[in-house]
Symmetry: C2
Subunit: 256 residues, 2 copies
């Protein structure tokens, strides 16, 4: 099924601007899997014919999706659906830096454990898991640099959404987890929310981090969202901030 096979009706008389209608139609194509991450979308002229509007209107719709991080325009090439292989997307949601350094380091990731188990109530609610098929994957990753672990990530995802995921697939991936989600399971993480607390490390995590029990660490609870604000990943990061820091730069973009 290709986008150009579809017929769209854009109504100039309703309250919603035509460019927003087009933006929503294109967004739905992502959701409905007619467009996939990395794919080239039809050029502007084709879209003009498809939606029967002028080129400026198409450009406004594409511009909106570009701002949202859904599409990316490349002059001379075309407009593509963003993916987690793109330079700008890799480690987009990774915020750990070395002390006083402005350079994001790419962490070494090592799988610590991989389990399948029943979801608890919170997980069932957040991940929208039905009672009948309530299995989740439960993963522990160790993150570090030069064999020095600074973080432990606990990841919980619905087994139904990531069926056929195995420890082997997870270990043998050659990219980020979000890239794996995208390519093998067609789940594209669009945005995240994080809640950060300071706690004393417990026994289990202290062993994984290789630090003394009772050391203060960051506990970061992340929700990973995909299209239409659907939560698909629960991640808890435990960070030993002795040698690294959590960084946030905030420009006053109104949207944020």
């Amino acid at each position: 099924m290709s986008l150009t096979d579809l017929k769209f009706k854009i109504d100039p008389n309703i309250k919603t601007p035509m460019w927003l209608q087009i933006r929503n139609e294109l967004f739905d194509c992502l959701y409905k899997d007619i467009l996939r991450p990395g794919q080239l979308i039809p050029n502007e002229k084709t879209l003009v014919g498809l939606f029967n509007v002028s080129i400026g209107t198409v450009r406004k719709a594409i511009g909106a999706l570009e701002k949202e991080g859904i599409l990316i325009r490349k002059q001379g090439l075309g407009t593509f659906v963003c993916q987690h292989d793109d330079r700008s997307f890799l480690f987009k949601f990774f915020h750990i830096f070395f002390n006083d350094s402005d350079v994001k380091h790419i962490p070494e990731v090592e799988l610590d454990s991989f389990k399948i188990r029943k979801a608890n109530k919170t997980e069932m609610k957040l991940l929208n898991i039905p009672k009948e098929n309530n299995k989740v994957f439960h993963i522990y990753n160790k993150l570090g640099f030069q064999s020095k672990v600074h973080s432990v990530d606990k990841i919980v995802i619905a087994a139904a959404k990531f069926s056929l995921l195995t420890e082997e697939i997870l270990v043998n991936r050659h990219n980020t987890i979000y890239n794996l989600f995208q390519n093998k399971f067609n789940v594209f993480i669009t945005h995240t929310s994080e809640r950060i607390k300071a706690t004393l490390v417990d026994k289990k995590i202290s062993q994984m981090l290789g630090i003394e029990m009772g050391t203060p660490i960051l506990k970061i609870e992340r929700l990973g969202y995909t299209y239409h604000d659907e939560i698909v990943e629960l991640r808890t990061s435990y960070v030993n901030t002795t040698e690294v820091e959590y960084i946030r730069e905030q420009y006053s973009l109104v949207g944020e």
Copy 2:
């Protein structure tokens, strides 16, 4: 001095697009104090005459500054310079929420101490303070809700940039500190960067927070920037995350 009194020359033949040239000219007006926060800028038609371009080009320039959080368009009214009184700007850089709550609470702020002292080396470097006139204001604020303190902010700013600041002015402000910076000292905070660590609270801060020494807390080091990436504020926040959390929502905006 008004914007409409000036003459601008936009060159269509150079590499920089005309809309970017216009964006830069308008930005410089902010920096040079020809435009001030809250002020209404000339309407689009006037700008068309001023820059001698078509209206679409002006709109693109304004759109860029709007995305940056510098200008805000209000249909039917005009385009204004953003200020820290605007709904969307108030507490834009405040990220503390109650546990599991999605509502940002507006904290009660109480001045704890106000001092003037010499800057140390780091402060001189970051705030670009000369050797001759190297005084800084050193402020401690307590933040909380219903008389329960959850955070302590240590603020350091150059005395030269905020001359005439007194404890009284600080206490009697009826708005955020960034609003005070903007209105009394003409310093507009455009963006910030924060580096977060987990630490054990020391004696001084534990007393201010009213908690036991050795409790784990967040230590957040913030740099506050104004136009042209000039650092004007050093702020260290110490947060007791027993009842509150630090929150970050990240949409995949390419710019961030």
